[in-house]
Symmetry: C2
Subunit: 143 residues, 2 copies
């Protein structure tokens, strides 16, 4: 999660909403990414999607077997769906997102047994640090 | 929807699950795309995501205001979330997807008032033609 926070910090310096993500397989980091919505002018470019695309390139397979994703903010519906589609093993997130989070807050999509794949979900890891970087960013933006 | 079906047909000839999507703004087609999961070895490359990314490039804005998406199959969680994030106006789909559909089947995410954007959702448009192309594809695959 510390590496994901570093990625979030990178996003903040680039004037992106500071969210960072890392994908780990067999104890090794195979992808690290941050939110690039503004840079790429596209609402699909969340940190999780960027990380998934880097990881699939790395392993040369769309199926991210035995891979775990660490992300500083609870994934939204799009990202929760992408985790299911990519068949990751687990998602560990930092801050909860009561307005859009779909891994426990509004929905918990990755544990829905009706989908053809389920993930382990654990939230609240380093939640204070993960939330603080977002709070600081939005405070600066409002000024 | 006929244009979206043409895109799905393209996907079928490329040995991709045949789903096609088109985005329309002010009566003009601004993006057409098909599923590229196998070509790009990535589970995020659904027709809807491809279409959204083409459309945002075209209008040079992540906010797809006054844009409508036509897709041959009911969007999954990832794609339904991407439609919300990109703030499209409406989604019109063909065949229902009882196993993964999140625009009426398992969930109806784009109409959830807790999200910061809602879409008009209409399913079942040319549903027989849209379902047939999928049925034919999977029949061929099983042989």
């Amino acid at each position: 999660m510390k590496l994901a926070l570093k990625e979030a910090q990178k996003a903040a310096t680039l004037d992106e909403v500071p969210v960072g993500a890392v994908i780990v397989k067999d104890g090794k980091v195979i992808a690290r990414a941050h939110n690039k919505k503004e840079a790429k002018l596209c609402a699909t470019r969340h940190a999780e999607i960027e990380a998934i695309e880097k990881a699939t390139k790395k392993v040369q397979n769309w199926w991210l077997e035995d891979c775990d994703l660490y992300v500083t903010l609870e994934p939204c519906a799009m990202c929760a769906g992408a985790l299911i589609n990519s068949r990751l093993r687990a998602v560990y997130f930092g801050a909860y997102d009561p307005k859009a989070g779909c891994c426990g807050s509004l929905y918990n999509l990755p544990v829905d047994t009706r989908f053809n794949h389920r993930l382990t979900v654990e939230g609240g890891i380093m939640r204070d640090e993960c939330a603080q970087i977002l709070t600081d960013y939005f405070k600066r933006k409002r000024k």
